[in-house]
Every structure is written in structure tokens, then in C-alpha cells.
């Protein structure tokens, strides 16, 4: 319980969000949506971290989330820059068509 909120609810929500993220990452073709799904997974993890942190009465969870957010910002900037670079060459961001790096 965090205040009146049971931890299980938090974890349930986190797990559901993460699973949705996995589904998006695995099943979508649009690179941007895949990327968004990854962001969603990170947020699901964040939710779990904050939930656990609150349940254990520490701030560690929030600290980690802080770092996750910072890293997500870095990841987004580089990832989107890569998209721009790819798009300039191939005019698409469909990951099924971006498969030059193969045998």
C-alpha cells in the first residue's frame, strides 16, 4: 500500500504497459512507432520503480527514474537523428525496408 493505493495495482498497470510496449516493438513496422513503444516500455519500468520505491519508503526508485528520463532524452535525440539520416537516404522509415545491413 502506498497511501491507499495497493502496490499490486501499480505493478499490474506497469506490467500491462510493458507488455503493450513489447507488442508494439515486435509487431509494428513504422520505426517511429517502434521507438514510441520502447519509450512506453521505459515508462512502464519507471512506474514499477516508483511504485516499489514508494512501497519501500525510499527515494531510490525516483532517483533511478530520474536517470532513466535523462537517458531517454539522450536516446531520443540520437535515435531521431538516425531516423533523419536514414530517411534522407531511403525516403522511408519502414523497418522492413531498411535492411541493408545483412549478408
Amino acid at each position: 500500500m502506498i497511501g491507499p493505493i495497493p502496490l499490486s495495482h501499480v505493478l499490474l498497470a506497469s506490467g500491462a504497459l510493458f507488455a503493450i510496449g513489447v507488442a508494439g516493438a515486435l509487431l509494428r513496422r513504422n520505426a517511429i512507432q517502434i521507438f514510441l513503444s520502447i519509450e512506453l516500455m521505459m515508462n512502464a519500468a519507471n512506474l514499477a520503480l516508483i511504485g516499489y520505491g514508494a512501497a519501500l519508503g525510499t527515494q531510490q526508485g525516483q532517483i533511478i527514474v530520474f536517470f532513466v528520463i535523462a537517458i531517454a532524452a539522450a536516446e531520443a535525440s540520437v535515435g531521431l537523428a538516425i531516423f533523419v539520416a536514414i530517411f534522407r537516404h531511403t525516403e522511408t522509415i519502414d523497418v522492413n525496408k531498411i535492411n541493408l545491413l545483412k549478408w
Binding site: 513489447v22 516493438a25 515486435l26 517502434i34 522492413n96 531498411i98 541493408l100 545483412k102
Partner: protein
Amino acid sequence: MTTPPLWLIPAIPLVGFALNGLLGTKLGKSFVSAVGVGAAGLTTVVAYARLIPFVGGNHQPVVEPVASWIALAGLSIDISFRLDPLSALMLSFVTFVAFLIHVYSIGYMHHEATNAGYARFFAYLNLFLFAMLTLVLAESFLLMFVGWEGVGLCSYLLIGYYFEADYAAAAGRKAFVVNRIGDFGFLLGMFGLFAAFGSLNYSEVFWKAAQDPARFAPALGAICLCLFVGAMGKSAQVPLYVWLPDAMAGPTPVSALIHAATMVTAGVYMVARCNVLFRLAPEVMVFVAAIGCFTALFAGIIAVAQNDLKKVLAYSTISQLGYMFLACGVGAFGVGMFHVMTHACFKACLFLGAGSVMHAMSGDLDVRHMGGLRGKLRITYATFLVATLAIAGIPPLAGFFSKDAILSAAFDAPGAGKVLWAVGLATAGLTAFYMFRVVSLTFFGRFRGTAEQAHHIHESPSSMTVPLIVLAFLSIGVGFVGLPPVFGARADLIGPFLAPIFAPIAGHEGAREALPHATEWLLMAVSVAVAASGLMLAWQWYVKQEGRPAERLAAAMPGVYALVAEKFRVDEDYDFLFVRPFNRLSHFLWKVVDVLIIDGILNASAFLVELSGDFLRFVQTGNVRNYALTFFLGLIALLLFVAGAM
């Protein structure tokens, strides 16, 4: 005046080497000459500043530690230098002869085309001097080994000085490789010494050995044998002598300094230095004497049939070195060292004279192209003749006294002493013969070279002739420090001076009975007679009859003559016995072991990797979703594992 420290003596030429090596190319020949000769001169001055009080005062050994070098549990080696009668003797002529040769080199190397080459020559020469002085003054075997390797390195560098020429490079390499064999022996000897005595310092090792001969004697046989192998390599004894004749490829001052006067005597010095050990290993002493004796005769025979002036001198050097070992082998270490000193003077003089002749002959050294040079090269002729008489053993020149001392010591030796004496005597005759043969062919008769050479003949500059004159006077005078006992009990100066070094080991060997004076007079007479007859024979054959008897003799025994002229084909035999099998082995190791087996294993593994890569690359679809899927499948597996653990 405070006495200069011992470490200064090797340090000065080291500084000279650094200056010439680093700056010489830029600063020109006069700078190089000043630094090079200056370093040699200064170190000579410093050395004599130490030597004169030492010789004049009491002869207690002086050990001066400089720094701690290696300090480990159970092993402590300092860099320290030692001045005792033996090293004093070496120091006295090494520095002085080296200085003279440095001076001579200014004139000899004057025609060197580039500053770089000139500077390189003097830098190497100074480096050699540093190494040689370290070798002489070292207080421990390890430091001596540093000098030992240092002189080897300089020898290699200077033999290969004209490295543009293949023969010079090959000669340098040969000298290096053959010396390595000897060095290996020396190293083994050092290991043995350390194992037996737990130390490598002279004072400690010799003191322990002398204190308890019975305990160390068994091990000393092997150790001394190893050390003697080192000496054989460095001092060009059979069978490791083959590098020395080839070493004449270096500039003549190098031959004079390194390959006649100083470095090659390092082996003798080392054996003399270790006399305590050798005397405890009598079987090795016999071996030393035998090798020395055989080398003396063998090299003397070869020298008879050589036509290259420097080659003759080279074989003569080997032969004389054999004499020295003969002396050591019969226990007369002091006499051996005496011969080292006299030999340094007259052989340096001979080599420098040969250099002067070569200078005049525009680089030609074949005695068959010379003749009648005495008119044109007066000083060279005079000094060369003096040195020849000295080496031939004509009294009262230096060689007579030292050689006579060796022969009488051999005669006096127990066991096969008489045989050794007989062989030594024969060698003395040979020496006189081949040396005078060379003198005759070079300076007498008529000129046999080309007109151009004849036109070019001139006496060398004073920087070359002055050292010749000084060395000639030394060849005359230096023998008087070691007059034989027949001239009175106190006539011999050098023997008593060195005596503390060769002090008898308590309870091991008794003092030997001196020869009766009559016997000694007789021995002297015989050896002078033999030497004189050798001279006369050469005069008769090569001056009076202009070499015809020799030609007849060669024609009468073509096989023998060819064998001798081709130096008993030792090089060829070595080539057949060692070099070619070694090359074949190397070739086998290369072609079969390396290329087939080792490379094969490597290539096979590489091929396997490539093969698996060929298949596995299809996993790399380039489709990110496939990768993501694989990743998540792995994650699921991991989760299952963790869930199982929960």
C-alpha cells in the same frame, strides 16, 4: 691532488661516445676528432694518475663501489670497480695503446667521405674503450660481462663499419655469432658460479674458493670449462677462431686496437683473473694448455701461406693468443699477462704499419703486389721491422722476453710440458719465418704492383707515423720489465708485481722449483736460434731467391699447399657441419613446422570460423524486427529461468 675515482676512467669515453654519437654528424670532423681523441687522452691521463701511485705504493687491491645495481633477496650486485695489479697492468696498456690508435685514426680515417661516417667511427671507438675499461676494471663477473658484451658489440659494429660492402657486413655477423657461442659458455659459467658460491663478486668468489678448495673443486671443472669456452670465443682459439681473420674487414685501426691489442686479450685476462678457479681444476688447465698450444701452431701454419698482409697478422694474432693460453694452461698466468702486454705493443705497431702500407698502396693489401717499399716508406719500414723482430723473439726486443718466459714455463711444466715446449718452439720458428716473409715481400725486392700504385706511394702523415714510432720504441723497451731470472733475482719486475694475484692456494700446490740457470740459458739460446733460422730462411727464400723456393715447394706438394693456403678449409667444414645443417633445420622449421603445422592450425581455425560465418550470416537478416524478436525470445527464456528460481 685528490686521486680521481675509478669510475671516471670508463665514464670519460662514454661521454665522448654520447657527444660524438649525438652531435658528431652536425658539428664536423674537427669537433669529432677533438672529442674522440680528447676522451681517449683524458681517460689515459686519469688512468695513469691512478696507476702511478698504485704501482709506486703498496699494491693492495682497491675496490670502489659506485652504486647498487641489483638488490634482491640472496643476490646483491653492486656496480663497483677494482684496481689491483692485474687490472692495473691491463689498464696501463689498454688506455695508452687506445690513445695512440685514436691519434692514428685521425690520419687514417681522414679520407672518410661523410661527417656521419667519421663521427660514427670515433663514437664506436670511444664506446669500445668504455666497454673495454669496464671489462678490465669490473669487480664482479656480471659487470665484466657487461663490458664483455660491450666490446663484442663494438667489435661487431666496427667490423661492419663499411656495411655497404657485403663482405664487411657478413664478417661482422660472423664475429657476432661466433662470439655468442663463447658468450653462452661465459653465461653458463656465471650461472654455475652463482649456484656454487652465491655471489658474483671476485673477492667473495675467489676468497671462498681459496678457503675451501675441497668443497668447490668438483663443481669448478665444469664452471671453468664454461668460462674457458667464453675465453675461446673472445680470444679466437680453436675452434672458435674463425671470426678473427674475417674481422680484418674493419678499418685497420680497429684491427690494431680491438682485434690485436685489447679485446682479444680479454679472454686471457679473464682466465688470469679466475686463476684461483682454474688452478683448482687441473684437468681444465691441461685443456687450456692444449688448446693454446694447438692454436698457436695451427694458426702459425696458416699464416705462412697467406698473401693478404692483414690476414697474416690476424693469424699471427691467433697464434700469439695461443701462446698466452699455453702460458696460462701451464700455470704461468703472470707470464701470459706479460705476453699480453708485449704483444699489444708490437702487434698494434704491426697492424698500424700494415695500415700505413695499405694507405700507400691505395687500399691494396696483397703482398704479391708490393715489394721494395722500404725506400718510399722509411718510417713505416723501420717501425714494422722493429715490431717484426720483436714478435719473432730476437733479443733484446720485447717479444723475446715474454716468449722465452712462456717457453721456459712450458718446459718446466710437469706431464706433457716438453711436448708443449717443442710445439711452442716450432711455432716460434714459424712466426719468425712468416713474419719475415711478409717483411721481405713488402719492403724488399722490386715493386710488383701497378704503375698507378707506384706513382701514388707516399709516406703517411705524422698523425699516423708518430704512433708507429712510439709503439716501435715500446716494442723495444717494454720487455725489460720482465727480465728472466737468470739476470738476477730482482731483474723481473712484473712477476713479483703480479704475484699477489697468483698467490698459491694454501695446501693445494707447492711452489715450483725454478729451472737451473744453465737450462734456462740453453732454452734461450735454442729459441733465439730457431727464431734466427726462421728469419734467415725467409730472407734466403724471399729476398735472395725472390720466392722461387717457396714456389717450388708449393709445386712439389700441391695438396698440402692448397690445404694450408685455404686455411685448412675450416670455414668450409664449419659451413658443412654446422651452418648448412642449421640452415636446413631452419628451412624445415619454416616450411614444415611453421608454414604447414602452425600456420595450418591457424588457417584451419580461421577457415572453420569463416565456414561457420558463411552459415551464420544468414541469421543477420538486416530486419530490426527479427533481431527484436530474437531478443525478446531470449528475454522470455531468462524470465522463465528466473521465475523457476523464484
